[in-house]
Structures are given as C-alpha cells and as structure tokens.
Amino acid sequence: MPGQTTKPSTTDDLVGSNGGENTKPLVTISGQHGAGAHEVGAALAEKLGVGLFDYRVLDNIVTKVNDDQNIKSWLDRQKGALHANWMKSFTYKSGKDMTSYLPYLVRTIMAIVPNGGVIIGHGAHLILVDANVLRLKVESGPKVCAQRIAAKHGITIKAAGKLSAKVNKERISLVQDVYDHFPTEKTYYDLSLSSEILSVDQIVKITIAAMKEANLPVR
C-alpha cells in the first residue's frame, strides 16, 4: 500500500542518498487509471525490496521539498550526468517557472535514483530515460478500467468511466509538461503488459525477468 514500505519514501531518505547512478532496482510504472499500475507497483516494490513512490507519496515529498529550504538547497547541489541533463533541459526552455511544481518533482525523482524505487506515474519514464531503469506500462482497455474503478469505489460504470477520463486527462497534462522538457527519440516504455490477461503477480514475475535479461539491478 502507498507509503507503507520500509524503504525510502520520505524526504529524509532522499537527503540521505548520495546522488549519482543507481545500482539498486529502479522501475517506473505508467498506466491508465484503473489499469492496475498501483497494485503492480506495490507488489513489485515489495519483491524488489525498494520504496514505492506512488502519486500520494511523491506529491507529499514534492510539497515538503518546496517548503523546506534545506532540502531545496541539498537537491540544488546534486550533480551527475542525469542531473546535468535535466538541468540543461530547463535552461534551454524559456518561460517556465523554476519555482513551480515541475522542477522540484524532477529533482525529487532524481534523488530517488541512487536508492532505487518503484515510481508510479508523474512522467518519471521520460525523466529517467537515461537511467538504469525499466519503464513499465500496465495496460487495460477503457471498459475494463471502468469496471475495476466501479467495483473499487462502488459507483456505476458510467460514473467510473467519467472519473477515469478526468484522472487520465490530468495525468496526460502533467506528462505533456514533462515531455516538453524531456523530448526523446527513445521509446517511452521498455515493457508494456496487459493486465487484462495477466494478474498482478504474473506482471511482477515477467517484469523482474525482463530486468534480469537486460542486466538491470534487481537486488
């Protein structure tokens, strides 16, 4: 569940990290609302022994970062190839407010890298395109997503469909903002699996196998 893992999922853990490249498991997970990305993320984080950074946890961290000058300063001091790349991306784009949410979201995600983690959404798959990461997408069609949301929240399929569309629109907007800073000719994902034909455990198993085959850290 969000925030319940014992691995780093707070600003303290981020400040304790040493910056640079990751030697610990790092996975980004994307998916339509209702596709099961969160469930897969939680199971994967537990299996890999790393923190889960879902929407709630990551937003909380970014908010704290914005409010804490010490953490801000620490993040600003972080160096390394990844940091340099995204810093450059902000400097060549004009008209963006450096004090806004996005720059500190990016810095926070960069700070997660050394300790590893499973990061859900937030355009992390674009930000970390050059990291030792597996970028997973959990996929389901809109009908299945709506059915799951309806069952989870006890609402009608129609209401679930509307809710899903609204959430997806917000997510796409954020990811578009990220993409504006991180345009890439690389693929957006390394692996996309259908949660219509695979269970959460099966997706976790296949994802870890894919990480091993690609010589990505799994422990």
């Binding site: 000719e185 690389k186 390394d190 996309s192 296949i206 894919a210």
Partner: protein, 233 residues
C-alpha cells in the same frame, strides 16, 4: 469507412464461427499459439518473429508468404462466397500501393488475412505485420509489438542495408509513417497505441533470443500452450 467496417464485421464473424464455434467457453479452450507481431522498423521484428515461430514450432507468416497467400486466396470459393455478399467499394490506391505489391486489391488483402488467421488458428502461427492484431479481439491470439529507439533502429538498419545512417533514418521514418497511415486508414487505430497489444517490448535492451524467451514466458503465464523457457536468475 463504413464499408470497411462492414468488411471487418464480416471478417470477425467468419473468424469467430470458424475458430470458436466448437468451443462454448473460449477462455477454457486449449490455446494453440497464434501470435501477431507488430513492429517498428529496425526493431529486429522479422528476425525475432522467425525465431519465435521456430521455438513455438509453428508456421511463420511473413511478408513474402502473406503476399503469396493474398494472391492464392482468390481461388478459395468458401471465403469468396461470404465476402462477396458485401461490396467494399473502389480499391484504395494508397493501400494498394503500400501493402499489396503484387497487383492484389484491398479485398484480396482482407481475404488473405482471413485465410492466414483461419489456418493459423488450426495449426498455430506467427503472423508478421498487416495489422493482424486488429482483425480479431480474441484472447486466443497473443498480440506482440516490438519497438526500438530511433537511434538504435537507425544503427541496425544502416548496418543491414549497408547505407549511411542518414539514409537509414529516412527509410525508418518513411516506413513507419506508411504503416501508421495504413492502420489508421483501414482500422481507424494507431499502431503506437499499446492498448491493442498484450505485450510491447523495447528491443534496444534485448537480443532476439532474449526477446523470444520473454515472449514465451509471458504467453505461458497468460495460459497459452507453450513450453516455458529458461530465464536467468
């Protein structure tokens, strides 16, 4: 477009009757490996598909074989009788030029694809391209897409065609654009939409052998009748 949708509807009906008429519960029926492989140009799609067919012990329906079948299917009276009940309008020049290089029409293309899907449903098969994954939504078919980053695919194509990278890059972009246009025009879908696939893999990170192992593992987990590969770890 409505005529095309009519044709697709007939295809779906025929395929379902032929494939699933004997099975009351499709999900519980034995699953013969039928894989559709959609690919980004330069993603090692053809090589991986061939290896996958070999490992699964099924027929590979690649571009050459599909073209041959498209021509030969004109003699299949069973399909012709059913398909000709609906007119499909004039041949689309674009599709004609891009995807049927041997004088076959759009109708021939559809007929050819039906034959391929029916044949493969009985004996298994790996079908490369032709948007075969959109011809049926059955869960008896495993829909795979192989992608790759433009720089990596450019390197591969330049080496394979023995041309400069700039030429390879242009070739890739043109080929992919044609494929996207075809799928959009015929099926009103985008090739890049991952929702239409069961599995999409970035081939930058893997050899064809590794890709095949991961695909077969995923198929095995999804209930297809395959022998699970040995994955390291």
């Amino acid at each position: 477009m409505s005529e095309e949708k009519d044709m697709q509807g007939i295809l779906q009906s025929i395929i379902k009757v032929e494939l699933y008429g004997k099975h009351k519960d499709e999900k519980k029926a034995p699953t013969i490996p039928v894989v559709t492989v959609s690919r980004y140009c330069g993603a090692n799609g053809s090589e991986t598909a061939a290896l996958l067919a070999e490992k699964l012990g099924v027929q590979l329906y690649d571009q050459n074989l599909l073209d041959t079948i498209t021509k030969e299917v004109k003699t299949d009276k069973y399909l012709l009788e059913r398909l000709d009940e609906k007119a499909t309008g004039p041949i689309d020049d674009f599709i004609h030029s891009v995807f049927t290089k041997h004088g076959a029409s759009k109708d021939d293309f559809y007929r050819g694809m039906i034959k391929v899907i029916l044949d493969s449903s009985r004996n298994g098969g790996v079908i490369v391209g032709r948007a075969a994954h959109l011809l049926t939504t059955s869960n008896r078919m495993f829909r795979l897409r192989l992608e790759g980053s433009l720089p990596v695919c450019t390197e591969r194509v330049a080496k394979r065609m023995n041309v400069k990278k700039s030429k390879a890059r242009k070739f890739i972009l043109k080929t992919n654009e044609e494929r996207v246009k075809f799928v959009k025009k015929v099926f009103d879908r985008y090739t890049s939409d991952t929702a239409y696939y069961d599995m999409v893999i970035n081939t930058d990170m893997y050899t064809p052998e590794q890709l095949v192992n991961l695909v077969i593992m995923t198929m095995s987990e999804a209930g297809f009748r395959v022998t699970p590969p040995k994955i390291k770890g």
